[in-house]
Amino acid sequence: MPEAQVPSFKRVVIALNGGSSDAQIVALASRFAKIGTTELIAVHIVEIDWTLPLDADIAGNSEEAQRVLDMAESVAEDSKARLTPVLLQARDIGAALVDEASERDADLLVVGLPYRKRFGGDFAIGRTIPYVLKNAPCAVWVVREPIPEEKT
């Protein structure tokens, strides 16, 4: 993208699902972030089953959930970008993501679309991305993971 066409964002919410595309989308957002002016907000949401209370001690005790956000912080730091990690528990990931972006007055929401190798390999678009695309109050970037080359 030529320099003149690079859009500038003040607040970017990056949705992290703990998958392989997380580092890639944080790196991408960090590259577009203007040092000192753009605030990156990495959001990782742990979905809570209806059988449990919403404030059950799940994400706080999950080392994996913490690691997802710590990795994002580390990738952003390498690009000298300012990143705020946010860990949420919610019943529905898409709704929580949209609500968080609205509350933080984000002007961009970045989500990753992972490539699933199982079952022959496909992009499982799921229900979160369509929900976000339909309801997000700001621009949405869907970053598709590259399809791995088949070994011959």
């Binding site: 913490q66 919610a90 709704a95 949209v98």
Partner: protein, 683 residues
């Protein structure tokens, strides 16, 4: 766990979400399962004094660097020549003068005749040493310092001799280069002569600070003084030679020349002059030490740079000696101009800007030469510490990734030498060459052994070159040691074995402690079967004591409080209150008519041990010590003095663990505070 007061509302009633607190994130970052990496905040001080000290450190030596921030730059030949050769090339600034200062004892005419021949002889030696070290570059692409070459080929003792000699060599490089740099400065500004020691020590302090900040030799800034000196020195020698050839050279009139002697020119004086001039060879090994820093092919590039350095050094050394001879320049009295300054003044003109520029460049390259030791000494000390021959602190890197202990030790010893020798380069030189030639010799003997063991193609030819180097440098070592023994070389001869003995002693200590701590392979730790008991020495009954009792109860069921007093009346009242307030914990009162505290407690513990059944394994005794935590630094003088004595007395007692239970004023209430209106005891 939730960061807010309650769940956050969404657009729809069911879309609520909860923000989860991440208390670890301020201090740590997860890098893998069960693996945390500390952030800078984790090591940030918590007290105001600590924060102030940190701020001062950040201003003077810079912010702390993470290990991953270390820069590993590969050097081109041009840059490497400037960086690794500054030590060797800069010695051309004082080597000629050192020859002249000896020969002048036999008369100025003789000095001028023989100095050039001696310079040529030293240059031949330099050629052999450079060729020998070129082989080291080839054989040790990972860096072939005298220590590593000797360690691999000659064994531990020889490597320690090499290490000791190298450590002395690095200290001397700092001292000699700094004093010589200051001499170049007061050659231009004579009024600075009375302050030569102060100027040299300040310069060492500045270089130390720069190195503690993590200064690296890889910056372009280091190439400038070296190439500036090289350019101006070669111009000076070139112009001087042209004037001599065209017959324009006339004897310089010197008012403050050293009084010529009338000593006969014997073999001893010639050898002494040769030994003094051989200081020109110092720093030759730097390239062989730094082979990994070169761009690939590392060994070839390092070898080529070594030859280029040797040629440049020889040209400058012979050139400066030749021009000084032709102009009849003699060394001056203390405080006068240096020989190289006189040569520059004669060729460029004493008032010319080129003269001032040359003097500035000479001083700069000499300071740069001092700086090379600030990289080499701490690295060698760290290597020795890793091998267990020096205290482990020398292997620790400071906030700026520099080996701070090594840097500070080097600066301290070098500054002491500058002060002790009153900033006199000539006085320091006899201490310099012994260590240098000892390293050369050991390194070359090691190389002969290396070729003989590996027997690569053409090994006999390579072994021959190193063998010749070993023989010649050993010969010079004998000459340098014998002719300069009385002048100061004896100090090095004493110091090397002392350092070796010290390193062997440290190694023995570390080896024995490692052996004591070693666990046999395959050992699986099982839960302890030994019984545990808790002893709580109490000064009376107060909140800190109650907290200690609670801690003691959480460790073991067998808890005994011990009250040591010199007043029997106190004992009765404390016992009465104790039994009422701390039921279930027996109190033993030990009367101490001699008012001692630590001794009776230790004796009581001994009695307990003696009373333990011999057929059962000795129990672990936890001595739980209540301690009041002072809030201010001055409060520390008022409290816990007995606790400190007790702790140091029990340290190392078999089967005994001392547990400190700090009581802070802001700690949660351990028991209700007494009502000030009531007379009830306790609290």
């Amino acid at each position: 766990m939730s960061a807010g007061k309650g769940p956050l509302k969404g657009r729809k009633p069911a879309d609520r979400r909860v923000r989860v607190e991440r208390p670890h994130s301020a201090y740590f970052r997860y890098s893998g399962p069960g693996q945390l990496v500390a952030k800078p905040a984790a090591s940030a001080p918590k007290t105001a004094v600590g924060r102030l000290w940190n701020r001062i450190r950040a201003i003077t030596i810079g912010r702390p660097l993470a290990s991953e921030e270390e820069i590993g730059e590969r050097l081109s030949k041009k840059k490497a020549l400037a960086i690794f050769s500054s030590d060797a090339i800069s010695s051309s600034a004082y080597a000629t003068e050192e020859i002249l200062r000896v020969l002048v004892l036999a008369g100025s005419g003789i000095a001028l005749v023989f100095s050039l021949r001696i310079a040529i002889a030293i240059s031949v030696l330099l050629a052999v040493v450079a060729l020998s070290y070129r082989q080291v570059c080839r054989a040790y692409p990972s860096g072939g310092g005298a220590y590593s070459v000797s360690k691999e080929n000659l064994g531990a003792l020889a490597s320690l001799v090499a290490a000791a000699a190298l450590l002395i060599d690095y200290v001397m490089t700092v001292a000699v280069s700094s004093t010589s740099a200051v001499e170049q400065i007061y050659s231009v500004v004579p009024s600075l002569f009375p302050f030569r020691v102060e100027v040299a020590v300040i310069a060492i302090a500045l270089i130390t600070t720069a190195n503690l900040r993590g200064l690296r030799e890889s910056g372009n800034i280091f190439a400038i003084p070296t190439y500036l000196f090289l350019g101006l020195a070669l111009t000076m020698v070139g112009l001087g030679v042209i004037r001599v050839i065209t017959g324009q050279a006339v004897d310089v009139q010197q008012a403050n020349a050293v009084q010529s002697g009338s000593e006969g020119l014997g073999i001893f004086l010639l050898l002494k002059a040769f030994a003094s001039g051989s200081v020109a060879l110092t720093g030759t090994e730097a390239i062989a030490n730094g082979v990994p820093a070169f761009k690939p092919p590392e060994s070839k590039n390092a070898g080529d740079t070594m030859i280029a350095m040797a040629i440049l050094l020889a040209v400058l050394f012979i050139g400066i000696t030749f021009v000084s001879d032709a102009y009849g320049i003699e060394p001056t009295l203390k405080g006068g101009e240096t020989v190289v300054a006189l040569v520059a003044g004669t060729v460029f003109g004493h008032a010319s800007p080129l003269f001032y520029l040359f003097q500035a460049a000479t001083a700069l390259i000499l300071f740069l030469a001092a700086n090379t030791s600030f990289n080499a000494f701490p690295r060698l000390a760290a290597l020795l510490a890793i091998d267990g021959y020096m205290p482990r602190q020398f292997a620790f890197r400071g906030d700026r990734l520099a080996f701070s202990y090594g840097i500070i030790l080097l600066a301290g010893v070098a500054a002491f030498l500058v002060w002790r020798f009153e900033g006199d380069t000539h006085g320091l030189i006899p201490l310099y060459s012994v260590g240098v030639f000892a390293c050369f010799t050991l390194s070359q003997i090691g190389m002969v052994r290396h070729w003989n063991r590996h027997r690569e193609k053409g090994w006999w030819y390579r072994a021959g070159i190193n063998g010749l180097g070993a023989v010649l440098t050993a010969l010079v070592l004998v000459i340098v040691t014998s002719v300069k023994f009385v002048d100061g070389a004896y100090l090095v001869v004493i110091l090397i074995p002392l350092l070796v003995a010290m390193m062997l002693f440290i190694h023995r200590q570390y080896t024995s402690s490692r052996r004591e701590l070693a666990i046999r392979p395959g050992y699986v730790a099982q839960p302890s079967q030994r019984q545990e008991r808790v002893i709580i020495p109490i000064p009376g009954i107060n909140r800190a004591v109650i907290q200690a009792v609670n801690v003691g109860r959480s460790i073991a069921d067998d808890v005994v409080a011990v009250f040591i007093t010199d007043e029997p009346e106190d004992a009765a009242s404390v016992r009465a209150r104790w039994e009422k307030m701390v039921p279930g914990v027996p109190l033993v009162v030990v009367e101490s008519p001699y008012r001692a505290l630590v001794g009776p407690l230790a004796a009581y513990l001994d009695v307990l041990d003696a009373a333990w059944p011999a057929d059962k394994p000795a129990p672990i005794t936890f001595v739980v010590v209540p301690e009041y935590v002072a809030r201010h630094w001055w409060e520390r003088i008022l409290y816990n003095q007995s606790v400190k004595r007790l702790r140091s007395a029990l340290l190392g007692r078999p089967h005994t663990v001392v547990v400190n239970v700090p009581y802070r004023r802001e700690d949660p209430e351990v028991l209700p505070r007494p009502d000030p209106r009531s007379d009830a005891p306790g609290g």
